[in-house]
Symmetry: C2
Subunit: 343 residues, 2 copies
DNA sequence: GGCTTTCATGTTACCGGTAACATTTTCACG
DNA sequence: CGTGAAAATGTTACCGGTAACATGAAAGCC
C-alpha cells in the first residue's frame, strides 16, 4: 500500500548555492541538456541558442560540477599519478611530460604523494580508485596483493613505471634496476676498481640496483661495503656516507651512489679530505640530474629517460581512453651510462 | 497528459560493472543506507550487521564511488594544492606538511602543476573548482580577476601562500618578497658591498625580491646589473649568469641570487675563475635548501619556513571544514637570514 | 506539395551515493 | 509487564549532471 506522501523535505542547503545547469537553463528558457550541449558539443546547437546560453553561463560565473558529470558519464577526464615524493627530481621530467600530453587531449593530471612506505600506498590507492579516474600512473610496481586486486577490479587503466616486472597489473613503462646495478659494476670493474663501495637510498628500487652491483663483485669474490640513507637522500647524506665508508674501509677505490645527490655529497667529502677524484676514488651516480655536469669533477652517472617514460605512459592511457589497446603493454626504455670525469 | 511509458532503456554499461552499494546491500539483505553506514558511521550499526556487511564488502572488492558520495553529501574530503612546479624544492616541505596534517583528518591531498605561466592557471583552476574540493591551496596569489571571481563564487575555502597581499581571496599564509629583497640588500650593504648584482628566476615573486633589492641600492644611487633565467632555475643558469655579469660588469663585489640553485652555480663559476668567495665576491641565495650548508663555501641564504606555511594552511582549512572560521585570515610567517661563509 | 532526412531541442531515467525523516526493534525501569 | 527512550534499520528524495531515445521544425528532393 502506498504510504502517505511525506511532506516536502526542506532544502538541504539553506544558504545560496552555486549556480547549476538547471539555473542557467531556466534563465535562458531551455532545458538542462541544451546547456550541457552548449559546453560539451556546441556544434549540435543553433548559433543563436548557443550564444544565448554561453552568455548566461558567463554572466552567472557558472562552473560545471564535474563530480556530477563524471558520475553520469562514467568518464572523469582525470588521470592520477602517484609518486613516492614530489621532491624527487627524478620523476619531475616524467610528470612534466605526462601533464603536457594529457593536456592536449583535454585530460587533467593530479599528483598524489605516496611516500616510500608501502603501507600508506594501499590507503591512498583506495582513495584514488574511489574517485574513478580514467587512468592511474604508478611509480614503481605495486606489491600488495590486495591493492593489485582492487586495481584490477576497478577496471581503470593502470601504467606502472620506473620498474620492470613480467606480470604488470595492466601496462608498464620502465627499465631494469638490476641491469643498472650490473652495468655500473662492470663499468667500474673495467676501469680497474677492485675495492668498490655503495652509498644507497633505502627504497626498494635503489636496493635492487645495489644488490645487483654487489652480486657482480661477489661473483669475483669481492665484498662490497655499503651504507644506506633514508630516501629521499639529501646531499649531506652522501658526505656522511662516504665518511662512514672511509672510516671502516679506508682503502676503497670507488663508490656507486644510488642517487646523484648522494654522489655530489661524496664528491664534496672527497674534496674536503683531499682525496682526488677520479684518481684515488671513482664516483658514479644515478639519475643524471642536470647539476651533475656542473659538479667538480663533472659526475659520471646512469641516465634514465624520464621524459620518455612520461610520454609513453601518457600515450598508452590516451590510446586506452580512445578504446584502442596499445600495441605493447610493456615497454623497457633502458638506460645509458653518461661518462664524465668522476669515474 | 501522460505520455506512454518509454520502453525500459537498456543498461548503459553492457560489460560487468564494479560492485556498488546496492549490490552489497542485496547480497547481505539490507538496504543501501545500512551499507553506507557500515563504512561511514559504523557505530550506528549492531555488531552483527556490521560484521556481515563488512565481510561482504571485503569479499566483493568493493570500492566506494567517491564521486557519488561527494555529489550527494557536498563534501569531497579532497584538498587540491596548485604549485608552479613539482620540481621546485621550495614547496616540497610545504606540501609534505599539508599532506600530513590533512591525513590526520581523513582528507586527501592532490597536487596540480600550474606552471609559472598565468594563462594556464585559469584553465586549471576552472577544472579544479569543478571537482568541488573542500579546499584549495594556491602557491602565490591569484591575479586574474575572473579566476578570483570564480573562486569566490564557488564558496570553496582558499588559502593563498608564499606571498602577501592585503586583499586575499579568502585566507593567506605567506611573507613579503619585497621585504626579503630589502633585507638582502641591507645585509650586503652593511658588509661593504657597493657594486652588487642580481641573478634571478623570471617568475613574479623572484622579480619582487629583485626589484626591492634594486630599489634599496637605487636610493643610494647605485645601479644593480641583473640577469634573469627561466624558472625553475637549474644550477647551470647560475654559472652562466655569473659569467654574463662578470663579462659586462667585471668589478661586481656581490651577487644576490633568486634561488639557492642559482647561488650554487655562481659559487662553482667563481671557483672555476679563481675568484675567492666571500673575499672578492659575496654570494647570497634564497630558500636555504639543505644542500646549501654543504657547498664550498657554505651558502648564506634567506630562509623561509615552508613547513610552517604548510602546517598553518592545513590548519586553516581544517578549521573551516569544522565550521569554524580561523582567528586570523592572514598570517605572515616572515623569514630569516642564515649567515654562513659565502656572504 | 507530400515525404523523407537532417537538425535542434526535449523527455525520461539513471549514475551511486547521502540527508532527513520515519519506522521498527531493543532495552531499561518502575 | 507495559511504557518510553534509545538503538537499529528503512523510505524517499535528491545531489547535478549525461545517455538514450523521442519529437518537432526546417530542409532537400522528385
Amino acid at each position: 500500500m502506498k504510504k502517505p506522501r511525506p511532506k516536502p523535505p526542506k532544502s538541504r542547503t539553506a544558504v545560496a548555492k552555486t549556480p547549476t545547469l538547471a539555473d542557467i537553463a531556466a534563465e535562458v528558457g531551455v532545458t538542462k541538456i541544451t546547456v550541457s550541449r552548449a559546453l560539451n558539443t556546441p556544434d549540435q546547437l543553433s548559433p543563436a541558442t548557443l550564444e544565448k546560453v554561453l552568455a548566461a553561463i558567463k554572466r552567472s560565473g557558472y562552473t560545471p560540477n564535474l563530480l556530477a558529470g563524471s558520475l553520469s558519464s562514467n568518464r572523469s577526464k582525470l588521470i592520477v599519478a602517484l609518486v613516492p615524493s614530489i621532491s624527487g627530481a627524478m620523476f619531475t621530467a616524467t610528470m612534466q611530460n605526462v601533464a603536457e600530453h594529457l593536456q592536449q587531449h583535454g585530460y587533467q593530471l593530479l599528483i598524489g604523494q605516496a611516500g616510500y612506505d608501502d603501507a600508506r600506498e594501499d590507503a591512498l590507492l583506495e582513495a584514488v580508485i574511489g574517485r574513478r579516474p580514467d587512468g592511474i600512473i604508478l611509480t614503481g610496481i605495486v606489491h600488495s596483493a590486495q591493492a593489485r586486486q582492487k586495481l584490477r577490479a576497478a577496471r581503470i587503466p593502470v601504467v606502472e613505471t620506473w620498474d620492470l616486472t613480467s606480470r604488470p597489473i595492466d601496462m608498464l613503462v620502465g627499465f631494469s634496476h638490476p641491469a643498472i646495478g650490473k652495468a655500473a659494476a662492470e663499468y667500474l670493474w673495467q676501469r680497474g676498481c677492485r675495492r668498490p663501495a655503495i652509498i644507497s637510498p633505502d627504497d626498494r628500487r635503489a636496493r635492487l640496483r645495489a644488490a645487483a652491483f654487489t652480486a657482480f663483485y661477489a661473483a669475483k669474490k669481492i665484498p662490497v661495503p655499503a651504507v644506506e640513507a633514508p630516501a629521499p637522500t639529501p646531499m649531506g647524506d652522501g658526505r656522511s656516507g662516504l665518511a662512514t665508508l672511509l672510516r671502516d674501509h679506508p682503502r676503497i677505490d670507488s663508490v656507486f651512489c644510488g642517487s646523484d645527490n648522494l654522489a655530489l655529497g661524496a664528491l664534496v667529502e672527497a674534496k674536503a679530505r683531499g682525496i682526488s677524484v677520479p684518481k684515488q676514488l671513482k664516483v658514479i651516480g644515478y639519475g643524471d640530474q642536470s647539476y651533475g655536469k656542473d659538479a667538480d669533477p663533472p659526475l659520471t652517472s646512469l641516465r634514465i629517460d624520464g621524459a620518455a617514460i612520461g610520454r609513453i605512459a601518457a600515450e598508452m592511457l590516451m590510446a586506452r581512453a580512445a578504446g584502442q589497446s596499445p600495441k605493447k603493454k610493456v615497454v623497457d626504455v633502458g638506460f645509458a651510462i653518461v661518462e664524465r670525469a668522476s669515474a
